[in-house]
Amino acid sequence: MDSDTKNNQNEKMEVDTLIIGSGVVGAAIAQKILDEFPKASILMLEAGPKVKMKDFTLFHNYLITREVPYKFCEDLIYPEQDKPGENNSIGSTLIPLHGSRLMIYGGSTVHWGGWSFRMKPEDFKLNSNLNNGQISATVLTSKTILSGSNVSTSTEVETGIGSINVIDWPYDYDTLRPYYSEAEEYIGVSGDSDDNMLGCNEKYPFRTFPYTLEDSLAIDAMNKLNISYGHMPIARRGLSGSESRHAPCQTTGTCKYCPFGARYVAANYLDDIKEYGNYPNFEILTDVVVENISMSSRGQAEGVTYVNKDLGGSKQVNAKRIIVAAGAIESAKLLQRSTSNYWIKGIGNDNDLVGRHFITHPYIRFGADLPSNPKRLQTEMDFPTLVSRHYDSKLEQAKGKYILVNPAGNVNVDLAKAMKEGKSPEQVQKMLEGKTKIEIHALVEIFSQHRNRVTNADDKNHFGLPETIVDFSKGPNIDQRIDEMQREVNKIFTAMGAKDPRKPIVSWRADHAACTTRMSVSAVTGVVDKNLKVFEVDNLYVCSNGSFSSLGAVNPTLTLTAIALKLGDHLIGKIYAAQDVAESHEA
């Protein structure tokens, strides 16, 4: 079956499966294949370094300084007068990249929050639902494309300063449902098994975290206003009957650097594969940047060229199949720069769609003042336990669905700061019970627009990857939508007894960058097919949030893990099929 991985200075390296990127996607796919074929030859290439996890020296430093040890793996800020910086945001809406992803062994899960939502059934039908007259703007064009037996429709809607361009997912919620369960198991989600997003036979692997006392204000207010709410499904391991190398959450509240590994971090899972698994042909190289993908024909990817940042020089590695799992931005950029006579504009980019339709979620922080805090509410947890998906509904879809989260630490009191300033115990008690700030956070769905995109810049970033040019201008309806959201949130603040709501703080940071290589039924509207295979290329797959057809209102990573595991199944099928062919040739 799979041949051994080979590498020496004079010989071209050859592997069966090559994975670019070591985030949750790379880790989940590798694990899935290795579970089925322990001897599979898999090489994972990661541009970033390995940083120590679960280290108590670093944990103590984080406790005191709030500085994470992997900060240097973020993008630098954009260039400023006195700072060279890196990357460029050229659209009318600034999209910060700094802090939005990590270039590191384990990828962006090293700093993620672990909110693990399923998307809702209507999210898979965005285009159809908008076409059903739900959107108020004028429909400019509705393109129907016939490709083989598939019909693909994409809608362009006039929005005042541009058009939105949305599609359906090539499958529905029920197709992904079993993979959602598998993903929840894989990343270890604690959640409410009575949640109506789960089918009757489905359960979260770990018990939900009860609402914190800090949630009580929001709960009372939402009850008064008949706004539905529920428990936050969160990737924190709980206690279970079965043995696991991953520790249960100890509610330590230092989740950006968990001393136990209770929050899913791909780095810990990759370590496990390496340290405990018996997988002789699985290798990971860190600090190596893939420069481009080479093609042996229009339909066949041959391998990649990578640069070793420590040793210098570039190297070619060939593979039977290549999985680009480099995140929504880098995956698109890698296809774009992989030009050849077969693909003059980059692989899969004949229709100039690679990197386009870029969206992310704006993260919105609404705030007001609580006149007093008699229960001495304060931060006891580092992750939220209450979320409302009331406005994440089909009814709201055309305007932009959204979720409301009662964030951990929504009541703003800082004991340590007060004490360090020299306040007496009596002053600290008074501060605790007195007037304080309170917040509610929100994510809102954004619709893709053809003009919004990411591309490669000429310069290299501090990890040796080409810098990124982000060209994004928010649609005109979004400010109006945020105003509507503010009106709803203000009702909640009023019901809480909070006063003086402030103008929301809106961050467009690219944490949930998506749709840049979107999945569709046709190359006219997307870049990859329902199996995440680049159209017209037999052995090249792209799996990242970029492959989402649309993003919905919720954080993407559970859905991302589900599509990665689905891809794993597809690849396993391919490997079996290849074995059959090989065996029949031998016979």
Binding site: I64, D192, H231, L239, Q250, S424
Partner: protein, 190 residues
């Protein structure tokens, strides 16, 4: 097949072999400081039972191994030194500053510590004097540690960022929660 050490782990500090050489006198002064933080802010930290009477006879190893809070303080100090060797000097400096403050206050320890905890100039950042280094690099960090090790309970909470609260067990939720949701009596999205 690899052409480089595969797990080329990066850490922002160099590895050092223990022990680092915190001497007993300095450590005991740091224990005093920790006890004074507990007293001044009325923190009621459990397990702070280092008895001054026994200490002089005991070795540092005995003190640390026989008292869990002492052990945690010692571990914390070692971790700070591991991260940044200058902490070795900072702990020595803080010890000396505390002695000087006590002398300045004619032996009144409580007043000396209160000055260290509350003097506003000592909190001007970045620390540029011996006093402000003692306050910011040592005393303030110990304040954080004291809260993390259970001191926060005096201010009404059941859990705190950095505290090992424990697992999410039915009926034993390790943070203040809404009782009806503790029992899996969970409300779901409508």
């Amino acid at each position: 097949m690899s052409e480089q050490p595969i797990y080329n782990t990066e850490t922002p500090y160099p590895y050092m072999d223990k022990p680092y050489g915190i001497d007993k006198e300095v450590f005991l002064k740091m224990v005093d400081l920790f006890i004074q933080i507990n007293r001044f802010w009325k923190l009621k930290i459990k397990e702070l039972q280092l008895s001054a009477g026994e200490i002089p006879q005991k070795s540092l190893r005995e003190i640390v191994s026989e008292n869990s809070m002492g052990y945690r303080l010692w571990t914390f100090m070692n971790n700070r030194i591991t991260f940044d060797l200058s902490y070795l000097a900072d702990y020595q400096n803080a010890s000396a500053v505390i002695e000087e403050l006590i002398a300045n206050n004619k032996g009144n320890e409580n007043e000396a510590y209160e000055f260290l905890f509350t003097d506003t100039t000592a909190n001007i950042s970045p620390p540029a004097t011996r006093l402000s280094r003692a306050r910011q690099k040592v005393s303030n960090e110990f304040v954080s540690l004291a809260l993390i090790l259970g001191g926060f309970e005096a201010y009404g909470a059941k859990n705190y960022i950095g505290y090992f609260g424990g697992s999410n067990i039915k009926g034993k939720t390790p943070y203040r929660s809404i009782p009806s949701t503790d029992d899996d009596n969970n409300k779901t999205q409508g």
